[in-house]
């Protein structure tokens, strides 16, 4: 879960993510069609560096799919937020719930106030 201070900042975060993903998707598709040669630098868990040169088609391995799933998930979330809040804001506890790393739900909550028993 990620915590946001209000709906606006969550929407801003998600929109930025969406933009970045869409740009990356476009670039990847372009490069895939050209089958260009790329250099890959990878920092392993133990801190070691591996550098290799490969054709981009060889490394695509599900990444494009992952991007698509993410784009779809963020889109549906943004749509639902818009349909509920209609550019309005909500301040309180705004949590973005991630399922297997993919944004899946928005949890809203609010600090409680003390009242008389009802």
């Amino acid at each position: 879960m990620l915590r946001f201070k209000d709906i606006n900042s969550l929407v801003k975060y998600l929109s930025e993510e969406l933009n970045k993903l869409l740009i990356a998707k476009k670039v990847i598709e372009e490069e895939l069609s050209k089958d260009s040669l790329v250099d890959i630098i990878e920092i392993d868990k133990d801190g070691s560096l591996t550098i290799k040169r490969e054709r981009i088609t060889e490394i695509r391995g599900g990444l494009a799919e992952k991007i698509d799933i993410r784009i779809k998930a963020i889109n549906t979330l943004l749509e639902e937020i818009k349909s509920i809040f209609n550019d309005g804001n909500y301040t309180g506890i705004v949590l973005l719930e991630l399922e297997n790393g993919i944004p899946s739900r928005v949890l809203l909550s609010q600090p409680l106030t003390l009242g008389e028993g009802s």
Partner: protein, 283 residues
Amino acid sequence: MIIPIPILIIAIMIGMIVLGLIRPPLTVIIPLLGIYAILMLIPYILPNFSINQYLGIKYIILPVIGLAVGYGISILASKYMNVDVRSLLGLKQGQRGIKRPSNISSKPKVEKRTEIKPEDLDRLINETINELKSGASTNETLGSWIEYYDGWTDAIISISRRFMDIKGIAESMNKEVPFLLRARQYESKAAMLGLTLKEESVFKKQKKTKVVEERLVVYVRPEEIANELMNDTQLISNYVNEFNNIVERLVHDNDISQYMGNSQVLVVYVDGGVPRKLIMINR
């Protein structure tokens, strides 16, 4: 009558349903049904001999229905829910035939086990540990995705910005957790004093509209998410640490920055959202 009549019928039905659930072989069902049929036919064979008004030909169908229902439930349960009712009831029918082969097949297993040599043991243990390690480390905190930048500087700025954002989020979560926990304690104390905690009106109003269907935007009470938030705070803190190491490396490692020059770069976030992979596009 000592036994009230409907109870007798209900007992017979339950008995037949249970029998059906167990799915006994026909050699058990047929004699039972036979005995029941004879019982039901008694008033017809001996007209003066009436045991019970429900012991009549009209009710001969009841146990058959009971049996069929039980049988049906049993089959459906094992087919669609993978529940073997027979083993649930503690009965393993037809086990005798199967038992022997299972005995035979279990023997070589025992032999196989003894085949593991002590020198292999170390290797096996290491393999298992590695497997467990990789299993534990592939958490999907933030998932994996790709971002594109025109140049290395842009990429570094964006990665650092993301790092700062997430760090900020982690910090605010860290602050929130004790507050939520306190709110929970507060509520239990208030309850003891005869007070309840009220939701603010906006929250209440919007909450009502959500029931319509499964929503992606959900209202929850703060104390409901306290535990989850606590776990996730830990998770995000670990993530921030890992991210921090990578950012340090990307910014200060001369090998990387020299190598990157000013080429276009795809930053691949892997391992639950850590930018470990950089793909440079050569033009």
